[in-house]
Amino acid sequence: MKIKILLFLIVLIISIFLRFYHIDQLPPGLNADEASLGYDAYSLLLTGKDQYGKSFPIFLHSFGAYQSSLYAYLTTAPIFVFGLSIFAVRFLSGFAGILIVLMTFIIIYSSKENNKFWQALLASFIVSFVPWSIFFSRTAVEANLALFLVVGATCFLMRSLKQPVYFIMASFLLAISTYAYQAQRLSSLIFLVGFILIFAKQFINKKTIISVGIALFFIIQIPQLTLINTEAGTRRLDQVNYFSKDYFNQNSGSLKSVPLGRQIYIINQFSSHYLAYFSPKNLFFDPDPQEVRSIPDLSVFYSWMFIPFLFGLKVFWDKRNESFIKVALLLMIISVVPAALTREPFYTLRVLPMLWVVSIVVSYGGFEILYKLQFNFLRFLLLLTVSIFSIGVLYSSYFILLKYERSSEYGFPYIELAKKSENLSSKKFVVDLTRQSQSYIWFAFFKKYDPLKLQEQGKIVLRDYYNASDFDGKRIIGNVKTGDIWDKEPCTSQIIVGDLLAISEADVKEHGLHSEFEISDLTEKVKLKGYAMNSKEKCI
């Protein structure tokens, strides 16, 4: 028994280490969405309002995309304890990642399996060190918090099969998850309904508990339902779906001239996008096409996991009548639906519950392979080999390549600029926002800018907060102004800053600019250039 506890503790320690080791340095910096979540949390903590001055918002306006707000509310606690820092912003995601590992163990350990301890240990070990879980636990993403709530709900749903009262708790967590991440608004509802339908016989005499659970779910939805006709309620889907007539006309090719062409097009799009999430190529080899959401040369799973995945599918098929397998399959199938309704080819963030189930499939397959090996020595050798190989791949891709090749995606040059503007506090900076309209958020975050002053600049949004999706990014954060660098401010000395396309050699000559500094990313490629613009000379 002692050895089992020790092994479980080792898995937990591994998961803590992989999630919190240098979490403030890797990924290097903060991406704009993380910075926005963190600053909104800071603003909520100090003023009870977001960065635009909206009191206790249901969705965060952010950059006009209307992020779910739960992550920001919960992040007020780490910011209160640790101050406004990268660590504080990512803390919740990392903590949720550890709890997911813990709950994976609990769910499988309490299912009906034989050898359930070893099965549960392997599953939690796999979840603790698969690339997607490490990556999203080390960045501030609402989806990882939502996954924690969904896995928690799954845990209670499994328990409810023995003690139905737990169904109410599961409904509560699923309802809360809809405030954690936009995609959950659809999939949590389908998951709950699907669960009731699959296990209807077991709940036939527990109608009161089921009714209370469903009622609780819908009561918690009321604040969101009141916004259903606003841009905040539907804009995210409008921005990313392929249902519109314009999109059909631009992308459907020959289907335009076919009767029912649009309907066929939508079905085709949905099928192809849905299937893409189960493609071994996307799961085991190609990283997510969005560089800010992926690790260089590493997909969401290690490539060797394809073999245990195949075995795991067979095990899932053989055990398809077990309750947990049914719930897991349901979760896997439905959690891809919201993602498949969108245009992006493979958007990992939207399918974390599905990736969690695939991790369990891999662990079941891995367990089957280990079980078939007759000698403990061979089992240990196999586990050791794949672990060392995986750690090597992870270290090379995440701890080295990501650090260098993705530093720009995590705002590294702008963070350096924020530090520089602090050091040169007597000077005035104007930063170009043509290709990075969200840059003000890094200055606000790293200068710990007074939220009341920022709210004052964005208050135009308050006229119709949930319908004001336009966003311009022009702000003044202390001595830094984000906007048009060629705005005429006669007789004012200032440093204009832009990327390599913003200020050309011809501009330098024409305006008599003097180079002040260059800021590189970690690959040592210049990303931002600062020039002194001494308009006083022209005034004389």
Partner: protein, 231 residues
């Protein structure tokens, strides 16, 4: 007529096989390119289907399958071998050198030793490309949606099976679990490993997967027809 019946020409499964195979755009593309190759692939499809349904291990059919697989492999490697597996283009060389700098700075002697450098320069890039080819052919979107929504850069993708057949294919996969899952897995791995050596730009695509996808699609249709018959 009787002789034809004895040969199984009017057998329901045989008819389904013919319909599925000859209504796929891929079969016609291969047929136009090389009749012999197409016939062997259809032969593999038929044998694969037969083996899936047979209760006992059929030595002769298995041997014929292996032989046909070998012939297709040889033809495939002759006309579609991925020359990229033996060389690096300019961009790949630049990336290799840049990453060399990062690894050297971070890992020191762990990277800067003869063994690691040899692996990094002479094996890792080619192993990576092999894996890229291997996983590309395992992408179902390649067969039913011309790789949409994640089309590959510089490759002219084409729809190999009608997307409607996807439903039958999925049913076929599930049905195959009840029949001979090990055979399905072995074929998948063997075809994947060979196709890892074939260029992604090869105009016929990963032809060894034609029998695999066709067989499972046929299997799905057979299962559905049987269900309808029962009703």
């Amino acid at each position: 007529m009787g002789r034809l019946r004895r040969l199984g020409i009017f057998d329901k499964n045989f008819l389904i096989t013919i319909v599925i195979v000859f209504t796929t755009p891929w079969a016609w593309k291969i047929l136009n390119y090389n009749v012999f190759l197409c016939l062997i692939l259809i032969l593999i499809t038929a044998i694969f289907l037969k083996l899936l349904f047979s209760n006992k291990f059929n030595v002769i059919l298995t041997l014929i399958l292996c032989l046909a697989f070998l012939i297709v492999t040889v033809i495939n490697l002759q006309i579609g071998f991925d020359q990229d597996l033996r060389k690096l283009n300019v961009n790949e060389k630049v990336q290799l050198n840049e990453r060399h700098r990062y690894y050297a700075g971070e890992l020191g002697i762990i990277f800067l030793n003869r063994f690691s450098l040899n692996y990094y320069k002479n094996y890792n890039p080619y192993f990576y490309k092999f894996q890229r080819n291997f996983f590309s052919v395992l992408d179902l979107n390649l067969y039913f949606f011309a790789s949409h929504p994640r089309e590959r850069e510089g490759i002219s993708e084409f729809e190999k099976f009608h997307s409607l057949y996807l439903i039958f294919f999925v049913v076929g996969i599930i049905y195959s679990f009840r029949l001979r899952p090990l055979l399905v897995m072995l074929y998948l791995l063997a075809a994947g490993l060979v196709s890892g050596l074939i260029s992604p730009t090869f105009e016929l695509g990963p032809v060894l997967f034609f029998p695999f996808v066709a067989t499972l699609t046929i299997l799905g249709v057979i299962w559905l027809v049987n269900q309808i018959h029962r009703i």
